[in-house]
Each structure stands twice: as structure tokens, then as C-alpha cells.
């Protein structure tokens, strides 16, 4: 670009003040980091406090010293808990229940979402909304009727459902299936219609389209749903405390508070240790699946 430049301002007019994109970006970043730090501190204080407390003896916890410092660190809480068959049994119950619930949820939610989002049939839209609405009813409203139902079922058939850990495999999916179906409906909706049409023309049945095209393409969505289902099952408290009572049937969150709180005596060190150990599995799962979750597998399906 050689040659003339256009003198549009004239000599008397001052150059207008423009913002700087670089400076704008810098400020945006500063604010971002400020709030990120704030939230990080806010959310990390409880687990840090738990960790500090878990390293203390009961005597030190009850002593009115600085609660943020460990003067005589000890691993006795960890050793006692991990050496206790009762605690390990809670862990085992929780793991079996959560993994089974995830599998059951996916086996129901994925085909349900596929049917609701792709196989247009009479009432499918209403049904899809209905599925979501069931999720909005809180469990605090449901656990008494459910309890009554189980009792009546026992009277009629003689099959004991209460105080059995496996009854949770029936109860938890009422929480996880609607929400996971809803997530999957949303995810399937983002898959271009032509993809299943191409599969159908290629000769795939609905089931083949679902398993060979939709499941691999929707993997990030399925993983998100899996994380959700696992977290809900692992952290569920109300249903297990209502439906299970014997020590050997308890899952982790209920087990910790029933065995480690004796009357008005709180074994804080072990409670914190148990809770901290209990929080580990979801964390590990997040860490492993996050990459998958973020990876955009749909890239390249269509234009763009």
C-alpha cells in the first residue's frame, strides 16, 4: 500500500481515543483470576479443614488450640478406619451400589433418550418433558410413600425389601434415570439428523444406529451422564438412611454417621477421615474422565 493516505481528520481535530484490545483482555483476565481465586479458597476450606482434623487425635481436637494447625500429626485415624472391616464393608456397599446404578441407569437412559429424541412417535415430546418433571419431585417427598410401598409389598409377597442394600438399586435409578435421560436427549439433539438418516440408508436398524453411531458420537454426553449418576448414587443419604438400618447393609455416608457418632459423642477425627476417604472415588473418576468429557468428538461429522 503505497501512495496517498487520506487525511480525514484535518489538522485541528485531535486523534480519537480508542481502547486497547490488549488492555481489555488483560483486565478481563485479572477479574477472572480474582474470582477464580476467591471461589477456590471458598470451596477448598472445608476439605482442607477436614484434612487437618483427620490428622489430629481426639484429645488435640477437643483442646482449644489453633484449629488450623496440627501440633502432633498422627495417622491413627486412617489406620483405624482402613483396618476396620465395618468401614471397608460400607465402602464396598457404596461401590457396588454406585457402579450398578450407573450401569442400570445407562442401560435405561440411553435407549430411552434415543427413542424420545429420534423415533418420533405419538406423545414423544410430552413424554420427554414428563421424564424431566419426575426429576423435580424431591426425595424428601418420596421416601415415606416409598417406605410404605415396600412395607405393603412385603405383606403381599413376603419378600423383604427394607433393610437390604440391593433395594437401593431400584430406588436410586428413580433419581438418576430421568436426569440422565434428559441430558442424553439434549446431547442426541445436537447430533445432525443426517447422521442417522445416512445410517438408515446404509441399512442400519434403529438398534445398530444407536450402538454403532450414536453411542460413540455421544460419548462425551454419556460420560457426563455417568459422572452425574455416579455422584448422585455415591452421595445419596436420605434413601439409604431410611431404607437400611443393619450395620452390614449400610453405605458409606450413612455408615460414617451411624457408627462414628455414638449418642452425643462425635468421633470427629474419624468422621473427617471417613468423609475424606469417601470423597476420593468421585474425585478420581472426574480426573480420569474429564479429558474425555471435554474432547469434542463430534468435530468433523458435518461441515465446519
Amino acid at each position: 500500500m503505497t501512495g496517498t493516505t487520506i487525511d480525514k481528520a484535518g489538522p485541528s481535530r485531535a486523534a480519537p481515543k480508542y481502547g486497547s484490545m490488549k488492555r481489555d483482555r488483560l483486565w478481563a483476565l485479572r477479574w477472572s483470576y480474582f474470582f477464580l481465586t476467591l471461589f477456590a479458597i471458598f470451596f477448598l476450606i472445608p476439605p482442607i479443614y477436614m484434612f487437618i482434623t483427620s490428622l489430629k487425635t481426639s484429645a488435640e481436637i477437643s483442646a482449644a488450640k489453633n484449629p488450623w494447625w496440627v501440633f502432633n500429626p498422627t495417622l491413627s485415624n486412617y489406620i483405624e478406619l482402613l483396618g476396620s472391616p465395618i468401614y471397608l464393608n460400607f465402602f464396598k456397599n457404596s461401590a457396588i451400589v454406585s457402579v450398578s446404578v450407573v450401569v442400570i441407569t445407562m442401560l435405561i437412559a440411553i435407549p430411552a433418550a434415543f427413542a424420545l429424541s429420534r423415533m418420533r412417535f405419538w406423545g414423544s415430546a410430552t413424554l420427554a418433558t414428563g421424564v424431566f418433571l419426575t426429576y423435580l419431585i424431591p426425595e424428601t417427598l418420596l421416601f415415606l410413600p416409598l417406605f410404605k410401598m415396600f412395607a405393603v409389598f412385603n405383606e403381599l409377597t413376603g419378600i423383604q425389601l427394607l433393610n437390604r442394600w440391593w433395594v437401593l438399586l431400584v430406588v436410586y435409578p428413580t433419581l438418576t434415570v430421568p436426569f440422565c435421560t434428559w441430558i442424553m436427549i439434549g446431547y442426541f439433539a445436537s447430533i445432525p439428523k443426517e447422521l442417522d438418516e445416512a445410517a438408515i440408508i446404509d441399512g442400519a436398524s434403529w438398534m445398530q444406529t444407536l450402538i454403532r453411531i450414536f453411542v460413540p458420537v455421544a460419548l462425551p454426553g454419556i460420560i457426563a451422564a455417568t459422572i452425574f449418576a455416579f455422584t448422585v448414587s455415591w452421595a445419596q443419604f436420605l434413601y439409604p438412611i431410611a431404607f437400611t438400618t443393619s450395620i452390614d447393609q449400610l453405605v458409606l455416608p450413612v455408615g460414617i454417621i451411624t457408627t462414628l457418632i455414638k449418642g452425643d459423642v462425635f468421633n470427629w477425627g474419624q468422621i473427617m477421615t471417613g468423609a475424606l476417604l469417601g470423597a476420593a472415588p468421585p474425585l478420581i473418576i472426574y480426573a480420569f474422565l474429564m479429558d474425555y468429557y471435554i474432547a469434542g468428538l463430534t468435530a468433523g461429522a458435518t461441515k465446519g
Binding site: 445432525p192 443426517e194 447422521l195 438418516e197 445416512a198 445410517a199 438408515i200 440408508i201 446404509d202 441399512g203 442400519a204 445398530q208 454403532r212 453411531i213 460413540p216 458420537v217 468428538l297 463430534t298 468435530a299 468433523g300 461429522a301 458435518t302 461441515k303
Partner: protein, 366 residues
């Protein structure tokens, strides 16, 4: 290889008729292009042939077998979509062989067919890539490859080039034609681009408002359009339309333009137009290439007109000259050497031997 018959086919969505009763016979090996503006029913027709849409009324037959109730996978058709619709988690080879694998073809045959299709489309070195590692043109080739390996009775193309940039589109257009010359499969191709329709088709089907306006070879449509819609839709720049009256002048007829100018009609055409001369609502249709600069020898039927030049568009080999005639926006194609400039008045030659008279009440070309 197959024939496709579309008989009195109607498609209704609730109360909207997308296709309003069309008949079309597509011959074996033929390349038929359905063309029309968006919402004309061309894609719906194609999807009904594919089996992706139910047929409300009428019937579609492939090779004399009525397929109304036959599911897509049993119709033995292959379809190429506008957005390619490649399976993102599969490699090119897996994408192309998916249909064959579902039908449990022997592995050796699948490989042979994929290799052959890849060779035809010149994508042999891409077979191990995933779709996201391909360019738009390459994806389009893979989508075509997926259709070719199945060796179906009919190829269906749904605006396959609309997502490509202009240069690539021209390239792929030629590629599609070349592939069709090689494999000779009966093809139904949908596009809104009349240039694509003209260049690819053995026969073009022009659709509008759910009806077929005209069916014919590209040149027939261009030179002898049946309706005003076809006359205006085929050809770029579009045909000029000027409201006119026909008046007797001595033995012959002449067209009276709105500005009062009177153009004599060549004798053999005058014969044809006499019957409708009394009709008050007529238009003169004249393609831009039939309005040119004055030439030394002007044959019979060529008349001279003087027009105020509005805008000129130099295209290199020709210059498009736009001018207004009593509100009607007209275009002429003149030689760049004619030196016609914007804002001046120019002498142009209108070749009435190529004129069309359109009855505006029926929309038909007389």
C-alpha cells in the same frame, strides 16, 4: 441400475402441501436434476424416493416395484447429503464400508470395493483418516464414495455442493459428472443452483410451489421455457420481462412497449401470437444475450432501441449493461469493446427472433 417412477405423488405436512401431485419417469442410467427455489418441494421429493419421508398420496416405484412401504435400507439406494453426514468416529474406509459391513459382505470384497471407489474418487491415500482431518471437498468425495461402494440402483444427491466454496463447487461438479459417466447409475440430484442443474443433467426438472413446471434437457429449458417461472429461473443473468401490448401493424404484429416504442415482430412468430393479441396482460421475455450492441449487419427481426444506461458490470469477456424501461429493470450483454458507459444513453440491438411472449394470466409462454 434402475428406473424410478413417481406417480401423482403428494406430500402433506399437517395442512401444508409440500408436494402437490407430481408425475415423473426417470429412465435407467439417467441423470435427473430437480431444481427450484427453496420450499419448492424438491428435497421432499428426493427424501420420499429415499424413504426418509412417507408418501401421503400417489406412489413411487423403483424398477417397477412400488416402494411406498419399503424401508430405506431395502430400497437399494444411496444418498449423499448436503452436510456430508460422515460418521465422525470412523475412518474414511470405515465410513465407506459401513453399509457393506452391516450386510456382512466378505472382507475381501469390502476391501476391493472400497479401494475401487477410492481410486475413482482419488482418495486412496485418505482411507485411514478421520473425517475431521479432511477438507470440505475431500469430505464430499468420501460421502460420494460411501454411495458408490454400495453399488445401488439409484444415487440420490441432496444439494451436495452447497457447502463448498465457488471454485471447489465447479471442480466437484465436473467430478460428479465424471463419476456418473463411469458408473452410469441412475441419479436424482437436487439443487437450487440452476447452473448446476444445467451442467449436470440429462434432464432438468424445474419445480415451484410443490409442482413440476417443466421437464426437459437443459437446452430445451433454456431456449423453449414453458412457463414464465422457468423462463425467469433458468439462465443467469435472468431473462428480461417487459409488460407489452400486441398491436396489428399492416400485415404483421408489433409489440408496444410501455414507453410507446413499437417493435415489429418477425413474421413467423407473429403467426403464433395472433390468437392472444387481444389479451391485455402480456409480457415480452428476452434474454440478456439477445440485447447487444449495434452490429454492422442487423438481420431481420433485430430492432434498434435507445436506452439510458444505469449500471455496467464488466465481466471481462462481456459487459452487462443494466437499464430501466418504464420501471422494468433490464439487462443486456454487450461486447466490452462497444464502449458503453454508465449515465449515458446507448444504442442497443434487440433480437426479437429469440423473443418469448408470456401470458401473465396463465403464466405460460405462448
Amino acid at each position: 441400475m434402475a428406473e424410478v417412477s413417481i406417480r401423482k405423488v403428494v406430500k402433506r405436512y399437517d395442512n401444508v402441501e409440500a408436494v402437490r401431485g407430481i408425475d415423473l419417469e426417470i429412465k435407467d442410467h439417467e441423470f435427473v436434476v430437480l431444481v427450484g427455489p427453496s420450499g419448492c418441494g424438491k428435497s421432499t421429493t428426493l427424501r420420499m424416493i429415499a424413504g426418509l419421508e412417507e408418501i401421503t398420496e400417489g406412489e413411487i416405484a423403483i424398477d417397477d416395484i412400488v416402494v411406498n412401504d419399503v424401508p430405506p435400507k431395502d430400497r437399494d439406494i444411496a444418498m449423499v447429503f448436503q452436510n456430508y453426514a460422515l460418521y465422525p468416529h470412523m475412518t474414511v474406509a470405515e465410513n465407506m464400508s459401513f453399509g457393506l459391513r452391516l450386510k456382512r459382505y466378505p472382507k475381501a470384497e469390502i476391501k476391493a470395493r472400497v479401494d475401487e471407489a477410492a481410486r475413482i474418487l482419488d482418495i486412496s491415500e485418505l482411507l485411514d483418516r478421520k473425517p475431521k482431518a479432511l477438507s470440505g471437498g475431500q469430505r464430499q468425495r468420501v460421502a460420494m464414495g460411501r454411495a458408490i461402494v454400495r453399488n445401488p440402483k439409484v444415487f440420490l444427491f441432496d444439494e451436495p455442493l452447497s457447502n463448498l466454496d465457488a471454485k471447489l463447487r465447479v471442480q466437484m461438479r465436473i467430478e460428479i459428472k465424471r463419476v456418473h459417466q463411469k458408473v452410469r447409475t441412475t441419479t436424482v440430484y437436487v439443487t437450487h443452483d440452476q447452473v448446476e442443474a444445467m451442467t449436470l443433467a440429462d434432464r432438468v426438472v424445474v419445480m415451484n410451489h410443490g409442482l413440476i413446471e417443466q421437464v426437459g434437457p437443459p437446452n430445451d429449458l433454456y431456449h423453449a421455457p414453458a412457463t414464465r417461472f422457468v423462463a425467469g429461473f433458468i439462465g443467469s443473468p435472468a431473462m428480461n420481462f417487459i409488460p407489452v401490448r400486441l398491436e396489428a401493424e399492416g400485415d404483421g404484429l408489433s409489440t408496444k412497449l410501455p414507453n410507446g416504442a413499437s417493435l415489429p415482430i418477425p413474421a413467423e412468430r407473429a403467426q403464433r401470437y395472433r390468437a392472444i393479441a387481444a389479451n391485455g396482460k402480456l409480457s415480452l421475455g428476452l434474454r440478456p444475450e439477445h440485447i447487444t450492441e449495434l452490429r454492422p449487419e442487423m438481420g431481420p427481426g433485430v430492432v434498434q432501441i435507445t436506452v439510458p444506461v444505469d449500471v455496467t458490470e464488466p465481466m471481462g469477456m462481456e459487459t452487462l449493461v443494466y437499464f430501466k424501461l418504464d420501471g422494468a429493470e433490464l439487462c443486456a450483454r454487450v461486447s466490452p469493446k462497444a464502449g458503453i458507459r454508465e449515465g449515458t444513453s446507448a444504442q442497443l440491438a434487440a433480437d426479437l427472433n429469440n423473443m418469448h411472449i408470456i401470458d401473465e394470466t396463465t403464466g405460460r409462454v405462448v
